[in-house]
Symmetry: D2
């Protein structure tokens, strides 16, 4: 990973600003012969799209993806795939104040300090809009996984919003797509809706925790010790806007466990080793075990709020910043499809990297 590219062999470079003419992803290293058209990618973008439900920004963007290169007659050719999404809803407005002030909790000030100038329109490159390009690239990764490792399933969902958490006893995979929060516990949805409504009325915002699971990942993926599967997943998730923590398996809770409790005991199953528990989150020594790969991350509350916060302007003068405009009260909601996209990219990348180095041969057991 360096600047705006991530991945070892499946390499994704995203480009574009929130209010520029377009944004997109240049996807290099995709295997050839994969069935791929815009129709394979668009549904994933539609899931992330703003304006989908009353809890996300009302900015209206069709987010229609175009494939400009890298496919021929509906199949990938092994050459770079250029994915482009036009920005259509670049609401013209007076940026005067935003151009000169730094919103607390935003990248306004650090972009200014690093680069000496910044595209302040809608946050420029630091806008969560950049994640649309990730979701598009994730669509390519999913198409490749569907061909090369069709048993892999990737699902993300929210397990916490502010002070509200789910009850794991009521976990229901089918519920996830049926509510505005990608919440797997249908019993809390109404409560969450009320809670978020109250937060919004209070001119405030809240954080969230997203969990993403990859099922069916074969054992053996990961490039120890600095391209470990969990190391790459941590980088991938931490690179998503507003993410402040990443966990694999037990995550931060592992600190409180004992070795006796944390050991995932192994038995021999019909198809190979089976684990009685999954404290490890599907990764040992940086290499996948064949169990579910389980990653969690925390998204901080949206910094753009209507409540005034103290800050300074470019002249160093004190200002009270109030961020008007269309902002998600809980940006974690839209991080859910992004998490799936990052997981898909990382899993595919390691599948390719592994068959490069080892040929994908596995040590026999039993």
């Amino acid at each position: 990973m360096s600047f705006n590219t991530f991945g070892h062999l499946f390499r994704v470079t995203t480009w574009g600003e929130s209010h520029g003419p377009a944004l997109g992803a240049t996807v290099d290293g995709c295997p050839p012969g994969i069935a791929l058209t815009e129709d394979d990618i668009q549904p994933w973008l539609d899931r992330r799209r703003p304006g989908q439900n009353r809890h996300t920004t009302q900015r209206q963007e069709p987010d229609a993806v175009r494939i400009l290169s890298g496919t021929f007659e509906g199949r990938t050719t092994g050459t770079p795939i250029q994915l482009t999404i036009e920005n259509t809803d670049q609401r013209s407005k007076d940026y005067g104040e935003i151009a000169r002030t730094f919103r607390p909790g935003h990248a306004d000030i650090t972009y200014h300090q690093k680069y000496g100038l910044r595209d302040y329109r809608g946050g420029g490159r630091s806008s969560a809009r950049e994640t649309a390009a990730r979701v598009a690239a994730g669509g390519v990764a999913r198409a490749a996984l569907a061909a090369l490792a069709p048993q892999v399933e990737i699902r993300a969902y929210m397990i916490q919003m502010g002070l509200k958490t789910i009850d794991r006893m009521r976990f229901d995979w089918n519920a996830i797509a049926q509510n505005d929060f990608w919440c797997p516990d249908p019993g809390v949805v109404a409560e969450w809706a009320d809670y978020l409504q109250a937060v919004r009325k209070d001119q405030n915002s809240v954080g969230a925790t997203v969990e993403v699971v990859a099922r069916g990942v074969p054992a053996g993926l990961g490039a120890p010790v600095y391209g470990k599967l969990d190391s790459d997943l941590a980088a991938a998730m931490m690179s998503i806007n507003a993410v402040k923590g990443v966990e694999i398996g037990e995550g931060m809770a592992a600190a409180a466990l004992t070795g006796r409790d944390n050991a995932d005991e192994i038995v021999m199953g019909a198809d190979g080793p089976e684990y009685l528990t999954n404290h490890a989150g599907g990764v040992l020594g940086g290499i996948s075990t064949g169990q579910d790969v389980v990653v969690r991350f925390a998204v901080k509350p949206t910094s753009s709020i209507l409540t005034p916060r103290r800050s300074i302007d470019i002249a160093g003068q004190p200002v009270d910043v109030v961020t008007k405009g269309r902002h998600d009260p809980c940006v974690g909601i839209r991080a859910v499809p992004v998490a799936e996209a990052m997981m898909a990219c990382v899993i595919l990348d390691h599948l390719l990297l592994d068959r490069g180095q080892t040929g994908g041969v596995r040590g026999a057991i039993g």
Copy 2:
């Protein structure tokens, strides 16, 4: 990061197995003209060295580092620096059982599955011994930082061991080096010692949480959006053995905060912008703010315990695994110097990367 190398411009490749003849780090991209001898590196290794206190493995290794290349008359030349540490205490023993069985919670099984064979002696490449090479490389990074950004201070310490945590009210920087746990709260040290002794007697182990802080990091470091400073730090820390979660600033707790509370308000100080709080952990939009960079990570409990755990052998037959030998009951203790080394490497790398792209020029405020 790919396979065994990390870093963009300051590139560290570690090599070596736990019980091979030697291990080390090939450090490429170090700036020239930096004062560097073995004496600048050895003290950091001595801090990590096993057998230092009664709470870590009693394996005795002098861990004496040699610089085989890249310096001349006590200064770096800009060419690769080869750091080598001989393994002297390779206690000869019968590995028969270890060679054929997979320890629960260990990388034994995944290395076998991925590579088809493994160096089972002492965990081979997946041993925590690999981190000695990181600490050596971190010594080089610290020497370069001392020359290029002498105001940078890097400190790590343990804030949690199993169920025991520190009291932040008693935080004392000076206490850290004065106890066996790198614990900044002198008030809990005796309790922690008793606790760990009990864990050991119970043939068990515990996890830990380590915090690492970089003070004096200039604003502007980080390469958004896939070489973000926090993204690289997450990858670096997650690559350390047994780490299961990484946090920046508020970390996972950010999920429960509101935007009002999480906003780090800004005022103008004598030397530039100042922040009233540091929920962000010193990073906004992947770029350093100039505040303390604060990273935390959880280390799982040592998997090698004397309590039998169920597993299988290479023939797929059930076995009860008991891991004898010299193992740390809390491997988190030795992760402390490793955390500092990784932080030093990442900060230096981003300092170089930033002056490469931007020339290190900063946007003026005020």
Copy 3:
């Protein structure tokens, strides 16, 4: 360099096929604050554009570049710059035969063998049209060089076309832009025109030799030993379509020289060391000397000719291949602006890489 990206810090990824909707370059790592609009890039593309003179393909493409990201108010922001060129002249035709046969000397067969399928329309990704994206990226590199190292001048020209060579005694920098061949010897232009006309009438094609010179490159650029300046230049030029040989300074002729003759003697000038000759082509030990960096490369004759050549089709059946359509009889002509673009990218990249590692500090002499 890997797949479709080149460069260390100034990283260019080109994408697009000859007859797809568009092609372009994703330019990552450009320094911020550089004045850049389409007007800075278009003139370079116009120089390369087909249909410019009677000796190049008559395909008519406006090759109008659009900047989709990475600039704001006419300056680069340090974020990725997306450059797009639409393909407008995708003459619809029956590709039946081309789709099934392999042109001798073309990448048709190797793309088929490697990827299992290929975009056969106009050569797809292996078309020389890909070089338009390089020229666009080169325009960005030139803009950055103009700001960071304004003394650098880059010029390419043809010194040989088939059996015809220039007379170095008549070398005239000003003549280069004034003829259809980028030929610095005005005395041979008429003869070259006749020669090429005869070649074309004979349903044949010829090769060429291009020389590219960078003047004003500061001493000290290059990253020995595997990112040497000459090593990177060799890779860059060899990556241009149809290039079969690359030389630095004396090039292949160095084999016949003696050490006495080849030594570039050094004297002290007013502004530092001066060299009495430049056999080295401006590079010693992979690092620039401050002299002109002189690179030459040979372009093979266009493989697409009207003369029938023996080949096979996808069924393995023998066929006689005759390539109709708009093809350059000497593709080397259009390689001239491409050579300049590659040189600009490599020089800028090493300027950034060098200031990253060394801070651009130079050892004093005198």
Copy 4:
């Protein structure tokens, strides 16, 4: 390639100076399960070793390689392989003059300018001694090729020494190893010996041309368009000390050919496509054709000669430089085993890279 590492998946980092304690190569990404001991590497080093014949430097170095990591019970484990060679013949002497003066044609001055200091002993990092590490790494690559693509054969030889060339009509593969010049034409060996003796007596040196051929390379290797097989080979060969030009197939001579003559016509053979000629040197569009991969490069004459040359010292004062000591009159001789090593590394790397991206599947013909 960047700084001191080359390769995409088979990544070789060389380290070490001419007169430091040791030098070596850190080889990362080697496939696991490959039979490898020092005995597989040492013979290749012995071929390169100085002091082997009367035409190369009489420096006596055993160049004994040690494997410090990455193998277990005689097989590679997939972890980094550390190869170390001690420098034993570091003849102690007064470097006073060399330390202050810059030899014309040497990297002395550019290393000084770039890094501000240099290890002047024996040329430091810019010494041809660095190539011993390449040859060791090449030994690993050969061992992996022997397992993964046993039909691949790699041979290098000298085809020109100064003004003397071979007669291709007398080309004899078996002669190569039987003379001091790796010369495939036994008819010129005596003449070359006399010629080189005369050059040496004249206190002079000469250049050379080396050709390296890889036979049995499967069709389909190469990562267009910036990781083309020929692009990577050009970079690899140009990175060898003193190399000034690289050719693939017809090389620079391609400029003088016509399309009719240059077309490698294709017929269908029993095992697939066959080519009637090999002007392309086994590479089309950056991808191997299955024919012999043919690369040539020119090595400039050794700059270290006994004839005085004008130069300056670090104070900018004029000096006459005469380089005493043990220097090869034709350094091209020792470049032969280095060329083979680089070829082996590049072929293996692309084999791995290709199976990573495409899975090694090939498009069928016939």
